[in-house]
């Protein structure tokens, strides 16, 4: 049973991680700034899809280019969250496992998964993406003829939270493979490619892809369900799945994690 004091303790540590990460980054200011510049370059490259959508006047399943902006916007928000909170941690998790730094962390009286998942936080990477995302969502929302109301906004935020959990569960998979494989860079590459691809309404794709992206690797839940909810296009069944999926996938990742640790072999013989 998770007690409230435990949650509070973990939040306190998370605050320390944010502070320490920021302090560490300030030691390498040039790197910090060029990192943000690189992130903005990627952001601009991704914004070319906005150009594509408008230049071709792309309509997907009755959604106009303006409304498609909402999906793109949600994609950017989650890219920001992923880059800011998880990316670095997942990137070095493989190294942590192979290099044996995990050993030390395992002996701490805290959730190990928490320690390795949120140790390095990079808010600089998050900002440009999140801001771009908010701008795109606002534009899309205004163009969609859906009024701003408390219910829709709160519902949208709930879907953002669901998306965060699913982002965590899906993007940690390549790093978890480091428990068994020496080099997981290709698996990571695929996960990045899938992540970047997930910026359009799912109805663009073939049914089979839609099903895979909803039930097996539920990427579409991250970018699609929030906007669909706002547009009133989410069925009851989809709503139930949206609430069930994060619980199910988090449980799955948790199980794999525990299994991996059980047969963890440390770094050297």
């Amino acid at each position: 049973m998770m007690r409230w004091t435990e949650v509070k303790r973990h939040l306190h540590i998370l605050r320390l991680f944010v502070k320490y990460s920021l302090m560490s980054q300030m030691e390498y200011r040039f790197n910090f700034i060029t990192g943000i510049v690189a992130e903005i370059a990627f952001l601009i490259a991704k914004l070319l899809y906005v150009l594509l959508v408008f230049k071709t006047n792309l309509h997907i399943d009755g959604l106009s280019p303006d409304v498609i902006l909402m999906f793109l916007g949600v994609h950017f928000i989650f890219t920001g969250i992923y880059m800011g909170f998880f990316f670095q941690n997942f990137l070095i998790l493989g190294q942590t496992i192979r290099g044996g730094a995990l050993d030390m962390m395992m002996t701490k009286p805290m959730s190990l998964q928490f320690l390795v998942s949120l140790r390095h936080i990079d808010l600089g990477m998050a900002f440009p993406n999140v801001i771009t995302g908010i701008v795109l969502i606002t534009k899309g929302w205004n163009a969609s003829s859906v009024m701003w109301s408390w219910e829709t906004v709160v519902g949208f935020v709930v879907f953002l939270l669901i998306g965060v959990i699913l982002t965590y569960c899906l993007m940690i998979i390549p790093s978890l493979l480091s428990f068994w494989l020496l080099d997981t860079s290709a698996a990571a590459e695929i996960s990045y490619a899938l992540w970047d691809a997930n910026n359009m309404p799912a109805s663009l794709y073939h049914r089979a892809i839609q099903h895979i992206g909803t039930f097996i690797l539920p990427f579409f839940l991250i970018t699609n369900y929030g906007p669909l909810f706002v547009l009133g296009k989410l069925s009851t069944a989809q709503l139930i799945w949206a609430l069930l999926a994060p619980v199910l996938f988090f449980f799955l990742i948790r199980t794999v994690w525990k299994y991996a640790l059980r047969q963890y072999n440390s770094s050297s013989l």
Partner: protein, 269 residues
Amino acid sequence: MKNANKYAVTFRFGLQHALEYRSNFFLSLISAFVPAVVQYYIWSTVYKSYNDTTLFGYSYEQMIAYTILAAVVSKLVMTNMEHAVSNDIKTGGLNRYLIQPISYFGFRLCHYFGQKLLYIIGFIVIITLILFVSPASRQLEHEPERIVIFILSIVMAMIISFLLSFAVSAIAFWLADISYFFVVTSLVINVVSGGMFPLELFGEGFRSAISVLPFYYMIYWPVNVWTGIIPSSELWLGLLWQLGWSVVLGGVAYMSWKLGFKRYLGLGG
């Protein structure tokens, strides 16, 4: 003879490097196609709504062929060696080549082609599979001359890309912290070479401006030799442009490395 042997060993070494992580190789092929899949569905949807007219001068079949081929060619052409080279410069790994009778340029070149050999094989398989068997390609005309020029243009594109990378990595002689620099350059080079979308998407003016630069001949031009966008009359001319740019870039690479070495030795290695 003896000298050629050394380069053969380096070539094999690059190939071995690519083979080392078996899962990685196959998976990284998959990741190259993910964006192509997204764009395939986008273009399919767009062309359906336009009732099969041409868009940006491309027929539906040409656009699909472009999307798939550009993904493969950009994977084939992009060297991704800037980090390794700058690492050699920074950590003094270059010293080895100052005393060994193998030139650093030769080492990198052979390593690059060795590493890409598997991609070339995969590339040939993919082209024969998708472009000859799939309906998307039936309407494309491939007179023998065009196929010969296509193959030549791919080889030339690899050479241009290699020389460009080699010249760009010389920047490591002067700039201290460049970890993000090359991430941005390879992203920009990929986009303006047409690795993401056909250059016409950015406007005809942009395309013709780029057409006098080497980037144009790295992805956009070879791919469009295949799709037939490049008229037969311009085939040999384009090849001449490629040749010209390789000579120029070869000169730039030579000069920048000569200057760089001077600085490198001046600093005491």
